[in-house]
């Protein structure tokens, strides 16, 4: 049996802006302002083109992917993991023909559908019914295909009552459900999915998961990107671990996840933003320090001891909602901490600041590695989101006078509790 996907030495370079040379005289300034449009024209005339080998080592190029080769057999479900900026999205974009590789090639032996986003092309003024057809055709279905699946799609989404209402009157949950439903009934031989599962309420997520399992089990080839390692391990048989645009590990899923977890350990407890994403005036998370003392970084965090999360933002703000979810190594959410959910002890009223601190006097987490998903929201608009990148380690210790020396004792958290004879 030959491979359904074979990628050979895929590379993709983006041209990144060079630092502007400063004019050192008035004449120079004048000359620069005259030639600037031409220089700018040249610099972004061909943002993706890298003409020859020698320019491969040019500082101007950022290599999002470098010599990526792998083979996928028909029916395999492959999970793609890696930190933000490791090249996962670029790889998916190349496989789904959105962008071209700079060099190398991929051979696909089947019809491809890709879901890099749910609800692409959804228009608020159109009704639910019209959006199903518009979105379906954008994803590559024909009207006839949608006709035959229409009832199933509507049934799955659970919005049949509002089919002829403009989508702008839908709740965000309804919109996402309808959008996912269209995607769920695509019928390609190769399906490419980017983290679209993290949508909707818990119940709908479950439904999505079982649908995904159904698709994965139905002999279809699936490539799946997610930050939730637990989900990947559950759904996928094989893994592709990308780091810095290269394949760090490829093969049986548990081996790949192990390699991924190993590499994460060196970076635990302290996180700094990796790539310069355009911020469009938004407030971004620059740094997160996790320490065992107030306003500190590093140190050993242990059960029952203090933990302090220090968030350093890109701008001074007054009203910001910092929310983070702590997950265990399998990706299960343990708890969500949110600066919006306040009590009397919080001190968040004051001058605008770019540093916020969340302090837990007695850490209830058992020994292990934990991951944080951080989300910044302001005026109900999402500012920044870091998923699955930030990790920290906890050691066992004494929680409220009770000792937990044995890692084999089950459960990831401790509760404060009192025993009594009655």
């Amino acid at each position: 049996m030959s491979s359904i996907i074979s990628a050979e030495n895929l590379s993709k370079a983006y041209r990144v802006g060079k630092k502007q040379e400063q004019a050192d005289s008035l004449i120079g300034l004048l000359r620069d302002s005259v030639t600037a449009p031409f220089r700018r024209y040249r610099s972004f005339r061909q943002p993706t083109a890298v003409e020859n080998e020698s320019s491969n080592f040019n500082d101007d190029n950022h290599w999002a992917l470098r010599d990526v080769s792998f083979e996928v057999q028909a029916g395999e479900v492959v999970g793609i993991i890696g930190r933000n900026g490791a090249g996962k999205s670029t790889l998916l974009k190349i496989l789904s023909r959105i962008t071209e590789p700079t060099s190398g090639q991929v051979y696909l032996r089947g019809r491809v559908s890709s879901l890099l986003e749910v609800g692409t092309g959804f228009h608020p003024e159109l009704s639910g019914r019209e959006n199903v057809y518009l979105n379906g055709t954008i994803l590559g279905m024909t009207k006839r295909e949608i006709d035959t699946k229409f009832d199933e799609i509507v049934d799955f989404s659970g919005v049949e009552k509002f089919l002829d209402t403009p989508v702008k009157r839908y709740s965000s949950g309804m919109r996402v459900r309808l959008a996912f439903a269209v995607a769920a009934f695509l019928d390609p031989e190769i399906l490419i999915i980017d983290e679209v599962l993290a949508v909707g309420d818990a119940e709908f997520q479950k439904k999505c998961m079982s649908r995904m399992g159904h698709i994965a089990g139905g002999g279809r080839t699936v490539l799946f990107v997610s930050h939730q390692i637990g989900v990947i391990q559950q759904l996928c048989s094989k893994g592709l671990y990308l780091a810095g645009g290269r394949v760090a590990e490829f093969g049986e899923i548990n081996r790949v996840v192990e390699a991924y977890n190993r590499s994460q350990s060196s970076e635990a407890g302290n996180w700094t933003v990796q790539k310069d994403s355009p911020n469009h005036g938004k407030c971004k998370l620059l740094k997160l320090q996790i320490g065992s003392e107030r306003s500190s970084r590093g140190g050993i965090i242990s059960l029952g001891g203090p933990v302090c999360f220090t968030f350093i933002l890109s701008q001074k703000v007054k009203e910001i909602d910092i929310s983070f979810t702590i997950r265990d190594s399998a990706g299960n959410a343990i708890s969500n901490l949110d600066s919006w959910r306040r009590n009397q002890e919080d001190q968040l009223d004051g001058d605008p600041s770019d540093t916020f601190e969340c302090y837990i006097p007695e850490c209830p987490l058992r020994a292990g590695r934990y991951t944080l998903d951080v989300q910044l929201t302001r005026n109900r608009e999402m500012q920044d989101q870091i998923l699955g990148e930030i990790t920290f380690d906890v050691e066992d210790g004494v929680y409220r006078g009770r000792t937990f020396p044995y890692p084999s004792t089950p459960g990831p958290v401790c509760f404060d509790h009192i025993w009594q004879i009655k």
């Binding site: 090639q105 003024e125 279905m141 024909t142």
Partner: protein, 290 residues
């Protein structure tokens, strides 16, 4: 190299024929236009066209009335300024009728040029999320504007009735003139939109360009203002034959200008072909610059 040959051999296997196969690699230079792919996505063209029509009028107070109002108000202004103040000649027909007959096709041309020129930028978010033949965006923009043209033509028909001027047999040529107009607007639109996605200045230039172009066609003045020796060159602008053809068929101002239609048809075909090729050439970087 061996693997490459291996894959080419596999391509011949009967089981592989069932599914679509694809080789993704870097493309360079000019690309052929993949008509079968556009045909496969024909339903998308239709739904995008439908979306453009519906969204345009969904939240406006007078809705589809804008299609009528724009040429009607221009006609009013031109009739006052050029017809009454400047006493411009109008081939022996009332100036209002003379200018409206040109403004109806002109409104279609300028609006579909602007819409298709903006089509990629307006939908830039889609470009980086899903693959589809990008050509459907400017194409559906010029198709959607046909609805406006239809409505404006009905109003024009009403005006002809009011002035009691029956059109002549020349109206059978109108569909051809509309096709010439669509190819011109589409060709220019594809060139502009494939540039506008990369250089946002194009958007500003576009509005200005459309305003200037109006004076390069006999919209407000009669063809007789153009020196005789210049007319064949002037008629290389496809909108000249469209406007004069409309006037000939509906107002009987002149014989159907076949020679101008011929040169206009050639220019518009050329523009459309260049537009397609330029668009295909630029297509591979759309997602990277959007």
């Amino acid at each position: 190299m061996n693997t490459k040959i291996g894959m080419l051999i596999q391509k011949q296997e009967p089981e592989a024929k069932l599914s679509r196969e694809m080789l993704i690699r870097r493309t360079d230079g000019w690309q052929v236009i993949n008509l079968s792919e556009i045909y496969r996505y024909r339903d998308l063209v239709w739904f995008l066209t439908w979306k453009n029509i519906k969204v345009l009028y969904a939240q406006s107070v007078i809705g589809i009335g804008w299609a009528v109002l724009q040429p009607l108000l221009s006609m009013l202004v031109f009739t006052i300024v050029f017809g009454m103040f400047a006493k411009m000649e109008s081939d022996g027909v009332p100036y209002a009728l003379f200018s409206f007959c040109a403004l109806v096709p002109w409104a279609y041309f300028s609006n579909s040029l602007l819409e298709s020129g903006n089509s990629l930028v307006a939908q830039a978010d889609m470009l980086s999320k899903v693959y589809f033949p990008r050509l459907v965006l400017p194409l559906s923009a010029i198709l959607a504007k046909l609805v406006d043209l239809g409505i404006a033509l009905v109003v024009l028909g009403g005006m002809l009735l009011w002035y009691q001027r029956p059109p002549n047999l020349g109206i059978v040529v109108l569909p051809l003139l509309v096709v010439i107009m669509m190819m011109t607007a589409g060709g220019l639109g594809m060139i502009l939109t494939s540039l506008a996605i990369q250089y946002r200045d194009v958007k500003h230039a576009m509005n200005f360009l459309v305003q200037l172009l109006m004076y390069a066609a006999p919209v407000v003045y009669p063809m007789s203002f153009v020196p005789e020796w210049l007319q064949p060159y002037y008629a290389l602008n496809p909108m000249v034959c469209v406007i004069e053809g409309f006037r000939s068929a509906l107002l009987g101002t002149r014989e159907m200008p076949w020679s101008w239609i011929a040169s206009g048809f050639i220019t518009s075909t050329l523009l459309f072909t260049i537009g397609l090729l330029q668009f295909r050439k630029q297509e591979r970087i759309f997602a990277d610059v959007a």
